[in-house]
């Protein structure tokens, strides 16, 4: 498969890959390795003095280069993002940005679901 230069660059330099734990980290995951796509996000959401926005992101992905590239881009772009926002861009815009074939749209929805799960965990804690 031929990948865009952007996809190739973010796939090859996935600097935000990893996991993080701590009092202000919130985790969400979606998909399954058995089905070929699994994504986990850890969002660092410090307390109220930062406005409750996302501070830092780590991700893990068992996935194709497109999904890994999108996860890396999302992780880079998410700093300062409000928890209520879904992703820095919606799935269709991400698909266009990384020239993801339409047949892979479902894999990007796994990214969105994993992000939603992590953000949801943070919102639950904030509202508790």
């Amino acid at each position: 498969m031929i990948y865009s230069e952007l996809t190739r660059r973010y796939f090859e330099h996935a600097a935000c890959a990893g996991a993080a734990t701590g009092a202000d980290w919130f985790r969400g995951e979606a998909g399954s390795r058995e089905r070929g796509t699994w994504v986990q996000f850890d969002l660092q959401v410090p307390s109220a003095e930062h406005g409750g926005a996302v501070w830092s992101v780590r991700f893990l992905a068992f996935a194709c280069p497109h999904v890994i590239a999108v996860c890396q881009w999302v992780a880079e772009q998410a700093s300062g993002l409000a928890l209520e926002a879904r992703l820095p861009q919606n799935v269709q815009a991400l698909r266009a940005r990384f020239e993801v074939p339409v047949e892979k749209l479902g894999r990007l929805l796994v990214v969105e679901d994993a992000w939603g799960a992590a953000a949801g965990a943070a919102i639950l804690r904030r509202n508790a």
Binding site: A14, A17, R33, G36, W38, L60, A63, P101, V102, K104
Partner: protein, 389 residues
């Protein structure tokens, strides 16, 4: 290789040997042997026909056949099609059944599926986990109405060698089952003696043996009297089995390549085998790496592995930047299908997707192998890190 990327995909194709390219170039221009080999009423045609027949003798000698048994084709895919459809059409009045294996090349499997659409019955046999097809299974599958048994000599993905002599003996005991063997991956790697194997039809390819793409042959056994109906009609070339002007430069290239293959230095097979085992030792040291196929029943130049804990498309995308290898997975526009060969061996979808086929050849070196070990090690460690494994 010129790009600096280690080429370990010789089972996909090989570079044309310089000696072969030279022979081919002599058959193209006005100064060379450019005549139509069918135009034997003048010198140009006669000289071309002499080159064609010389090449035919070279191919025949390499595989233990008679020159008159060699039918030129455009490659092994056409040879497989001619064998299967040609036999099916010729014998359709008395037979409507074919036996083959689930691990055959697509050109065999798709031909068989097309025959099923035309009302034929096809028995698809599954090999064992080692890729070996038990000859007794073939004996059980042959019916009185079986026209053809089609089994490849060497599997193109995992390198497993089938016991063709035993399968040939089984077919010889049946009333009318002819044996077709796809030997595209055999020449130059293991001994191939058409005259003693009990094979009726043998498919060959030039570009797997340092010859040109677009050239191949079907060996049709005369002694056993096998008959075929042609797929192409026209000038009646190639005993009327394959009409069309013979591409002199292509078949001359194939002949030269097969002559070279038959004259490989005695130590070459051992050298390639040692390189392959060095590659396996290096990659296997990663852990979680499965070797596909039986190394004791395999050609010396192919190593197929499945890697745990990495996604298949990312594996080939990342490693492919540094080394030229194949993946068993079929890649369409966006979706990947796990290797049907590895699935037939019982590998699950994830391991069938995350497979790599390394195939070594004449120009492979220890440095290529070390580069491959380094590339795979870096890629697998990186992707396992990204996936949390």
């Amino acid at each position: 290789m010129s790009s600096g990327v280690a080429y370990l995909d010789y089972a996909a194709t090989t570079p044309v040997a310089p000696e072969v390219a030279l022979r081919m170039s002599e058959c193209l221009t006005a100064e060379g042997v450019f005549g139509n080999p069918s135009s034997v009423n003048h010198e140009f045609g006669v000289r071309a026909a002499e080159r064609v027949e010389s090449a035919r003798a070279q191919v025949a000698a390499c595989v233990g056949a008679e020159p008159g048994e060699v039918i030129w084709t455009s490659g092994a895919t056409e040879a497989n099609n001619l064998a299967i459809f040609g036999a099916a059409h010729y014998y359709r009045g008395s037979a409507r059944h074919i036996v083959t294996a689930r691990t055959e090349h697509k050109s065999v499997l798709d031909s068989c599926r097309e025959l099923e659409r035309r009302g034929w019955r096809v028995t698809y046999l599954s090999p064992g986990p080692d890729g070996v097809l038990e000859p007794g299974r073939i004996a059980e599958a042959i019916l009185p109405e079986t026209a053809l048994v089609s089994v490849m000599h060497v599997n193109n993905e995992i390198g497993t060698i089938q016991d063709i002599a035993e399968i040939g003996a089984i077919c010889a005991r049946s009333s009318q089952a002819r044996l077709h063997v796809d030997a595209a991956q055999s020449v130059g790697k293991i001994r191939l003696d058409f005259a003693t194997l009990g094979v009726d039809l043998l498919s060959l390819s030039a570009h797997k043996v340092y010859g040109p793409k677009g050239a191949g042959a079907l060996i049709v056994c005369r002694r056993r009297g096998v008959q075929l109906a042609p797929l192409l009609h026209g000038g009646g070339q190639e005993r009327a089995l394959r009409s069309g002007t013979i591409a002199t430069h292509q078949v001359v290239g194939m002949g030269a390549a097969f002559a070279l293959a038959g004259a490989e230095p005695p130590g070459e097979i051992g050298r390639i085998h040692a390189l392959r085992e060095r590659l396996w030792q290096g990659i296997g040291a990663l852990g979680g790496v499965w070797r596909n196929g039986d190394p004791l029943r395999s050609v010396p130049h192919i190593l197929n592995v499945s890697v745990e804990g990495v996604e298949g498309e990312s594996l080939i995308a990342d490693v492919g930047v540094r080394i030229a290898v194949s993946t068993g997975s079929a890649c369409t526009s966006a979706q990947r299908e796990p290797s049907y060969v590895l699935r037939a061996l019982g590998r699950d979808d994830r391991l069938a997707e995350s497979s790599l086929r390394f195939s070594l050849g004449r120009y492979s070196s220890g440095a290529d192998v070390d580069a491959a070990i380094d590339a795979v090690t870096r890629t697998v460690k990186r992707l396992r890190g990204i996936s949390g494994r």
